[in-house]
Amino acid sequence: MPSITVDNEKRVKIVSSSTMIIRSAKADIEYDLKDGDYAVLIFNDSKKDLTISDHGQISNARVNITYIQLDDHDLIQNSHIDVNRDSSLTINATYLGSKNKDIIFDLVNNEPDSNIDITSNIVCLDESAFKLDCIGTIKKGSKRSKCHQASHCLTMGNPKKATVLPVLNIDENDVEASHSLSCGTIDDEILFYMNSRGLSSMQALNLILRSYLMPDEHFYDDFIDGKAIQEMAAKKVDSLCSM
């Protein structure tokens, strides 16, 4: 699987499975994924304020896209993806909400038998402002399509604002659509439960943060630099727990 480092502002076209390491201040990504199974990992390693624009279409393909954003800088992300006939798109998005983050996912079931499933895990830190608009649109004619959204936002400290807005625009019958959302601090009862098994509050927090910020260890096996990204995420979790 190729690893692409984005270090300038030219548009990058993705036509196969890829690991994308973003190091520029702007990234313009176009998807054109057809006829097959694909996995794409987009990792923000820019270490500066970043604007990502990714867009494109998926046709007769099954695609997993993973976004990992653990950087301490501002982020604007605008993602628009059309999913065509007999295709499925699964998105796992992980955000460490520090500074200002403004994310829009605009995902369209464009034709019949198209499936979209998006899960966003967000940890919002002290003094951060985070906004996620997750918009799912099932267009007229897209019969038997599915669009499911799940967003989990964990707030730590005192964020300025954490906003998660799930939207479903449904213009067809005979479809499946759902959204779920949780937003808030760690439930005291969950903390008590974990404490009652011998875990200190810090150990409990570490486990919970890992569940938000780190996909399971086998997830990265397919990607170049996957291990390094996983180690970076683990370090980030450990540093958050020692704050």
């Binding site: 895990n121 404490n195 009652s196 098994r197 011998g198 486990l207 919970i208 890992r210 569940s211």
Partner: protein, 274 residues
């Protein structure tokens, strides 16, 4: 010898006094049954021993092997050997059972448990409890049925090897076969490790299998009568009314939160309130 000693314990939740002078001693190898009508302090007693922050001990003491439990944090109590199997176990989405249990085991060891030993022990216990093989990789209690949650509590108890275990209505939500399975697992653990048990249940069927060595009835925050397993059978046959008459006491009525209808959410399509 492991022993948990509770003396003249008074406990409040907010401004409401729930426990009003509990005296109880549980030694290793003993099985204590706690019974009583709903809302009279059984679960509060167990949660207080474990250190639930909703409850305030206003006077009295709890000692475990001579150490003051009330000075310990919740996790410290667990690491000392106390265990609470909860009536409503919490769901922890995103954290797998294996990660959770391994972290909990490592928290009480000087050197981390080897992966091989952990997997072997976990798989053995999953098999003993006839739970699904993929349990280790599922998130803690997430999407579990009521019965699965209760079995998972027992699995955790088996993995953590406590010295005194408190089981809060662990049999509710279990079918007859599962109750047998769970009670066998509890008794095996007791035989292996001389575990002391404090068990809250409403059902004689469970106590028939467990055979408690001591039994206590809590009414209005006090232990009003004590005995052996015969007391369990008497209450199952005769209920609590004879006790109220004999002792001239009244149980507290369980308070349930009021349910309000949200008008706008409960409207029918014609706009009238449902």
């Amino acid at each position: 010898m492991n022993k948990l000693v509770i003396k003249d314990l008074y406990v409040s939740a907010g401004d409401k006094e729930i426990l009003k002078g509990i005296d109880l001693q549980i030694n290793e190898g003993e099985i204590h049954a706690i019974m009583g009508p709903n809302g009279n302090g059984k679960s509060t007693l167990l949660s207080t021993i474990m250190g639930h922050p909703a409850y305030t001990v206003t006077s009295g003491s709890i000692e475990f092997n001579g150490e003051d439990v009330l000075k310990m944090s919740v996790d410290e109590r667990s690491r000392k050997g106390l265990f609470l199997a909860m009536q409503y176990p919490k769901e922890i989405a995103g954290v797998t059972n294996s990660d959770f249990l391994r972290a909990a085991i490592n928290a009480r060891l000087d050197k981390n448990i080897s992966l091989f030993k952990f997997i072997k022990e976990m798989e053995g216990n999953i098999s003993r409890l006839k739970m699904k093989e993929d349990l280790a990789h599922r998130f803690v209690n997430d999407g579990f049925s009521g019965g699965e949650k209760k079995r998972n509590e027992i699995l955790q108890m088996m993995m953590l090897h406590p010295k005194i275990a408190m089981l809060d209505e662990i049999d509710s939500g279990l079918d007859v076969d599962a109750i047998k399975l769970v009670s066998d697992a509890i008794l095996n653990l007791k035989e292996e490790s001389n575990l002391g048990l404090l068990i809250v249940s409403h059902y004689e069927r469970f106590f028939t299998m467990i055979k408690p060595s001591h039994s206590h009835v809590i009414v209005d925050g006090r232990i009003v009568v004590e005995g052996d397993d015969e007391l369990v059978y008497k209450i199952d046959n005769d209920g609590y009314d004879w006790l109220y008459e004999e002792l001239k006491i009244q149980p507290l009525k369980e308070e349930r939160p009021m349910v309000y209808s949200l008008g706008t959410c409960a409207r029918n399509p014609r706009g009238k309130n449902a």
